[in-house]
Symmetry: C2
Subunit: 405 residues, 2 copies
Amino acid sequence: MSDLRERALELDSADQLAGVRGAFVLDTVSDHAADAAGVYLDGNSLGALPANVPGRVEDVVRRQWGELRIRSWTESGWWTAPERIGDLIAPLVGAAAGQIVVGDSTSVNVFKALVGAVRLAGAGRDEILVDAATFPTDGYIAASAARMTGCEVRAVQPGEVPDALNSRTAAVLLNHVDYRSGRLHDLPGLTAAVRAAGAVSVWDLCHSAGALPVGLDAHGVDLAVGCTYKFLNGGPGSPAYLYVAERHQAAFDSPLPGWNSHAEPFGMRPEYEAADGAVRGRVGTPDILSMLALEAALEVWQRPDVSVGGVRAKSLALTDFFLECVAAYVPEGRVEVVTPLAHAERGSQIALRCADAGEVMGRLIAAGVVGDFRAPDVLRFGFTPLYLGFADVERAARVLAEILR
Amino acid sequence: MSDLRERALELDSADQLAGVRGAFVLDTVSDHAADAAGVYLDGNSLGALPANVPGRVEDVVRRQWGELRIRSWTESGWWTAPERIGDLIAPLVGAAAGQIVVGDSTSVNVFKALVGAVRLAGAGRDEILVDAATFPTDGYIAASAARMTGCEVRAVQPGEVPDALNSRTAAVLLNHVDYRSGRLHDLPGLTAAVRAAGAVSVWDLCHSAGALPVGLDAHGVDLAVGCTYKFLNGGPGSPAYLYVAERHQAAFDSPLPGWNSHAEPFGMRPEYEAADGAVRGRVGTPDILSMLALEAALEVWQRPDVSVGGVRAKSLALTDFFLECVAAYVPEGRVEVVTPLAHAERGSQIALRCADAGEVMGRLIAAGVVGDFRAPDVLRFGFTPLYLGFADVERAARVLAEILR
């Protein structure tokens, strides 16, 4: 056995999160003809299935919907699910309760947050700064929010935001972790700079929530959004969430004031009056099946052996070890590491650039090592510490090297 | 046995849709201590569980998500579900394929449709007419759409729309069936009037789709939205849909241009370029669990014994019979029928006004007859022809009369 394989086994036996793996449904050895089970390194796109979700969903469908039907809106807690589940996400992103509401897609929440931010910033501020490397939907939605609020959008690299801020800046939309490179941006420093300029910060946490500490309250973030199907394992298209810092809630003015955000939703009143608190970020009827699957998926964070700090420590150990294995196994010059080596600048994924990335990823997936390809030339590997071990990582690097040779 | 009970049994034995009842999960006799099974008359709020949905959802969760994971976006058809399921809804509302896309809530779709309508109407038109009796969320969202497009909102009764139309009218948002009274509005006539005035029609089909013919294409409707959890039985909070008539698609300019509506969504291009066709109405990642539960729920419409025309005929027979039973059983003057008696003005629900409606509905539900209460004084009973029979209707009226006496 090679040194790295032995190291992997040692690291796995010392891993304090190793026991959590059983809380997820993963491939068994027999699923693949290869030397062992598949390795799922795409949890940064769609998290694996938590083992408790199928039973929960079955109960929601057969009993809550099938038997209780309409009564479940109250008796099964459907109506309050968006804020209840928001409070489950809150500790994972460093937020006190009552500031997060779950529902709609990330794109729709970016719209709420950005329009809300421009309105919070007040008159005379008419520019929205957007991460130039952002996942595209944030940029598209920012352009629409700007158009509809009389603002202009300017794309800037996150590191250049402090220099770009000025008295016209209304809102700044940034990604905590870059979706392509895996770079972790300086949320505390950039948030402080935005605040000092009198603008409103909006953070997209899609690639950080559930993988590393965020500290929304501690760092004074104004607004934030995120999805729940990556490191939070909520399932395909599970609802996104919106964070509105408590100090902004009374003035938060949503562009999507649906009946679910009304102070008295069943009063059926023709005049809109916004509810207090996080509920103000709701819009229409929440999709209950996806929402309650997410609620079950979040239960893993209640385990005494699971903490965001522990997850982050293991995430860095996993990505360090992957880089070490890649350096040892992959022929020199065959790939370029895109993700920063410094821990302070690294999310929970490793991006490798190689010219034939699309074809390479196809062969990797066929061999049971599932990452994804981001055009034009990036191999992307996500590391979910809750269900990945070091032997998985070593195997993935070994299979990658075989394909690249 | 009373005459009406005998009539009910005769009507049930002649009912060509009677065989469809088995496609839904309904109460069994043992569920209630009363003389028979419960009667679910709230399908206009949340449709009953179709019998094929639990198995489908289990497959989506355990196999598509749990085993195939990320591969399901292509291999299980997740990515194309919004337009594929839109095409299943299309024939139910009289639309040719390629004009409906499923996703987001009704409220969010009202926003897309109204902003899109104002932009289609063009410069110089700055007024949005909204049904004065609308379900509130449509009015709230209309106010936001107006605010963000420089328009004003004017509330008018649907019958007064022809007189209210003028050269300033950009868009007209109307409900096909009034959620409270059950009144069916004149979609063909009002659509023609809106078109003649050079404005854009937006119809909310929440309370008509799946219950009666809509004829979107035949009547030249411009835009429409609707939910899928009432007469389409998609489940709690199942995604809504947006119809954009083919002639408007190339110019439809969504205020929520998320990456799912991009011409090349995986190109990850910083510039937005709208996709052609119905897909232009998509926004972010669709919630797959709710969406595919809906797809299963829509399969009942593929049965040879199910048609919109047959459903409408039975709906009118059911509501006629309910009114007849109420007239026979309920003490004179105890309730007032709010829903129009004329078939051409009746949806698939009956609303009865009585002073103590809230308390009466509580007692009805306790007795197994489930309708709902709409403040301040309306008892609302929805009739879903796919799973309700005439004996159910007779029993509901009888229990209601016992409570009211």
